[in-house]
Amino acid sequence: MNEKDQHTDVLVIGAGMAGIEASLMLSKADRKVHLVERTSYTGGTAIKFEEVFSNMECSTCMVAPRQQELLQDKNINLLTLAEVEEVKGSFGKFTVKIHKKARYVDMQNCIGCNACFEPCPVSLKNEFEEGLSERKAIYVPCAGALPNVPMIDTDHCLRFKGKDKDCKACQEACMFEAIDFNQKDEQLELKVGAIVAATGFNIFDSKKAPQYGYGKVDDVYTAIEFERLYASNGPTEGNIVLKNGDAPRSAAIIHCVGRDKKGYCSSVCCMYSLKFNHYLKSKIPEIKISEFYTDLCIPGKSHQKFYEKMKETEVDMIRASEIEVAKQGKGIAVKFSNGNGKKSNLPVDMVILAPAIEPRDDASKLAKILGISIDEYGFFKEENPDVSSVVTSKPGVFIAGCSQGAKNIQDSVSQASASVGKVLSLSK
């Protein structure tokens, strides 16, 4: 590659596990990184977990030091509340237009004391907590979010919605003059040499598989909702409770929710479903747990060991099909067919669903902007699946993590490292 006139900066889209790894590695190589993150915080989905398999390490303890490194790294220009609008050019000479929403809080002055939350008169469901608790119009998504600087949700803030143009309750509560209603959204233009897209995933909307009762039957939770219930910084401070406030005496974990519709195995659900055993047993030692699965997918040198250990917690592993979840009396009944074809009915207090991992809603839009293709499942498409899965058909644009396909943290991080490897070896 011709070294003259090449931009050496790199654009990383998405500040989850893959994006963080890519950014830190690039910075180490003395490259300037523009890390564009759609939300107000870093860490992606991983910071919603309390613990990760298979060593059951505290997830935030694993991620926080990297987030800190990221925030203090002089080579990394973290742009939160930002999205990529346009990409022009080619490998070594991209021009990228970024739309950065105003946070309305000065990131230099704010020290994260949270004093501005209390006086805010607006309360609504917190999306980060999957709607299980509330937040204000000025908020951080959870305790410990980094950067520890709140944002104003202009869709609900009385001032910005025009409902109370004089409301400045938050600004008055701030001792650091950090709240600035005059901030404006920005249009930024960046010149970069390469792009790494690590925008993560969504989970399958379980309402689309109505047989599982999600949204109809109380106490049917998705995996992420359950992670938040167990999280010590979550809506119940880590107490696993039913809607009525009682602790469940029994739980069913249902694998492969949406697998038929999506047409692929999401790779991580068997493992985290086993992890959930530990979650449940550690808070409610006498709870009875049943796992409903079709094929146990636990590849990897350390994963079967994890399974054996979880089995010791006395979980019922039930290979089942035709699963239906319905209300039964005060609780729930899980109907299923087991291997013999025999139909059964298991009453439980709580159901946890393991929904398929799918691409983000805006994946195809971003793919168009980047000039790359998406595959038949909607994930970013690698050019040649037999070789490097981070290389797209557009030179200079690399993909990593779950944006390329469902995978666990180890593989997401590996792909991020591989993307950086590609960037560094192809451009000096």
């Binding site: 790894e21 590695m25 180490k28 190589a29 990760v52 298979s54 390490e57 694993m62 800190q68 203090q72 230099q108 020290i111 004391c113 001792m175 650091f176 047409g263 692929y264 195995c265 999401s266 790779s267 094929d295 146990l296 997918c297 590849p299 990897g300 040198k301 350390s302 994963h303 079967q304 060991k305 290979r319 291997g339 013999n340 595959d375 994930f379 699946p385 037999d386 070789v387 490097s388 899965s389 981070v390 396909g405 469902a406 995978k407 943290i409 180890q410 593989d411 991080v413 590996s414 792909q415 991020a416 490292s417 591989a418 993307s419 950086v420 490897g421 590609k422 560094l424 070896s425 000096k428």
Partner: protein, 561 residues
């Protein structure tokens, strides 16, 4: 030299000012011996605050700095930079956390103030005993040793090589390519295996910056990140050896198959026409699938999970390649009946389920089974098994293909020793962190990739090879000096009695034994300052810079007054 300690207490807005009586703290510490100034400031980490500190340091001629403010995780780095800019050694500084540890944990202002006073005094006491520490810089060699000439090693080499970075690729067999050279096709695209590897091998051979050693083994790698001395010997001619220096090592030595003879119920080695997957691949590649008697098989059984119980893990790729085998068989012998005997179908990966759906079909059975046994019945092989409901069954077949577990190569222990890394689950090389650092090891500068790290398919292997290359490309840059850890351990020559307890507990291999003096010696470049040696040493000969006994003792004693 006279000590002039400056103490600055941050108000942190209302955070500390409202919860701690800062003036009381200032009163309590102003008259301590050595303290020449004790003041408060609104927000020390702000641009103004940093400027203020720098000016103060110069104006007051301070030799040591103590700040009582927030957590070191937040701003220790910030204030250390302030010290450097103002001309004092950044290690002659101590940060006392009176926010997270005082102001933010109690509403009782009295309690908070008392504790803040203790913490500040403790920091002042400690900082007295601090020593200036200097950053070190050493030259580094950007070249890389890649051990293993399979797809991982080849990919890593091609990714890494450049005019200012030489690659030394050591392969123990006489040719490059590894296991892929045996595969007619690879899943899920079913493209020829050779298409992946042929061009790459050519590129490798043509690159003048890559030196390839075939029929060779690595004898030793001595040194540390940026500075390894390598010795390579030819297996067939031990006299022929090569010595060279590199900065990093990539272990891409692949894997091998579990020996099915150790699971005699499968009849391997006893009956004809019972093959391992690799034997079947080779047979398929050579042109014809046939039985020992020369005839093509009319039926075949593929048995998954051979050796899985013995090894204790799922080898990830066997279900997929078993499906590939179904296709091989159907391509070459369209009417053949194939039965797959499996326990759980493991097909993660976005295109893998589709591959499975498209492999199912006429005369292709998937039998979920357990207790599978291969016996001989007449001139046919007989598969005895228990099906899902637990009832016994049997199917006669002409040919049996076993999918054995994937295990580390037999030289893995030797390689682990040579490179000072450990073997973990399954005997595969241990990564530094299962989730966030899968290709690094606990020895800085040694990376692992591909089958050597754990069973995986070709795309994942390539990713790990590229990841290892990425790690090296970002941290071992030609011309760039390496800054090793400053706060390292040191062992007193006069106190060390040579019991080697420290050596045994050092996870990084940074302690060596000087046979002449009979004492342990720390290599400050490799040492990461973890302190294991300090804990293990009974005589206190080992201590970590910036965490010496005195520093910790004085801080603690003052804090618990």
């Amino acid at each position: 030299m006279e000590r002039k300690i400056g103490v600055y207490i941050c108000e942190c807005g209302p955070n500390i000012a409202e919860k701690v009586d800062i003036d009381k703290v200032i009163d309590a510490v102003s008259s301590i011996d050595g303290v020449v100034v004790a003041e408060k400031y609104k927000l020390l980490c702000s641009a103004d605050g940093k400027k203020f500190l720098e000016e103060q340091i110069k104006k007051q001629g301070l030799t040591h700095l103590v700040i009582s403010a927030c957590s070191p995780k937040d701003h220790e780095k910030t204030f250390m930079e302030v010290c450097e800019n103002a001309g004092i050694n950044p290690y002659l500084f101590q940060l006392a956390n009176i926010r997270e540890q005082c102001a933010w944990i109690t509403e009782d202002k009295d309690e908070a103030t008392k504790k803040a006073i203790r913490l500040t005094k403790a920091a002042i006491k400690r900082v007295r005993y601090h020593a200036s520490l200097e950053k070190k810089e050493i030259d580094s060699n950007p070249d890389v040793l890649v051990i293993g000439g399979g797809i991982a090693g080849i990919e890593a080499s091609l990714q890494l090589v450049s005019p200012d970075r030489k690659i030394y690729l050591v392969e123990k067999t006489s040719s490059l390519g590894g296991l892929i050279t045996n595969y007619e096709k690879t899943f899920p695209s079913m493209e020829p295996g050779s298409s992946i590897i042929k061009q790459k091998i050519q590129d490798l051979n043509n690159d003048e910056n890559i030196k390839i050693f075939t029929d060779s083994e690595v004898e030793e790698t001595i040194g540390f990140f940026g500075n390894f001395e390598v010795k390579v010997k030819k297996i067939t001619d031990v006299e022929e050896a090569a010595e060279f220096d590199v900065g990093a090592v990539v272990l891409a030595t692949g894997s091998t198959l579990f020996d099915p003879k150790k699971a005699p119920q499968y009849g391997y080695g006893k009956f004809d026409d019972v093959l391992t997957s690799l034997e079947f691949e080779k047979m398929n590649l050579s042109g014809g699938i046939s039985l020992k008697n020369g005839k093509p098989p009319k039926s075949a059984a593929i048995i998954h999970c051979v050796g899985r119980n013995e090894k204790g893990y799922c080898s990830e790729i066997c279900c997929m390649y078993s499906l590939k085998f179904v296709r091989y068989l159907k391509d070459k012998i369209p009417n053949i009946k194939v039965s797959n005997f499996y326990s759980d179908l493991c097909i993660p990966g976005k295109s893998h389920q589709k591959f499975y759906e498209q492999t199912k079909g006429n005369n292709v059975d998937f039998v979920r089974s357990s207790d599978v046994e291969v016996t001989k019945k007449g001139d046919k092989l007989d598969i005895n098994y228990k099906n899902e409901t637990g009832s016994k069954n049997n199917i006669p077949v002409d040919m049996v293909i076993l999918a054995p577990a994937i295990e580390p190569t037999s030289d893995a222990p030797k390689l682990a020793e040579i490179t000072s890394i450990s073997q973990g689950d399954g005997g595969f090389f241990s990564e530094e962190h299962e989730k966030i650092n899968p290709v690094s090891t606990s020895t800085e500068g040694v990376y692992i990739a591909g089958g050597a790290q754990g069973p995986k398919d070709i795309p994942k292997t390539i990713i790990q090879a590229e990841a290892a290359a990425g790690k090296i490309l970002s941290s071992l840059i030609p011309g760039r000096k390496i800054e090793p850890e400053v706060k390292t351990s040191q062992i007193s020559e006069s106190l060390c009695i040579g019991c080697k307890l420290c050596l045994s507990v050092c996870s990084y291999g940074s302690i060596t034994f000087d046979e002449a003096k009979k004492i342990s010696v720390v290599n400050e470049v490799i040492c990461r300052g973890c302190g294991n040696c300090v804990a293990a040493c009974p005589s206190g000969a080992a201590s970590v810079k910036h965490f010496t006994f005195n520093q910790l003792y004085q801080e603690l004693m003052e804090a618990v007054q």
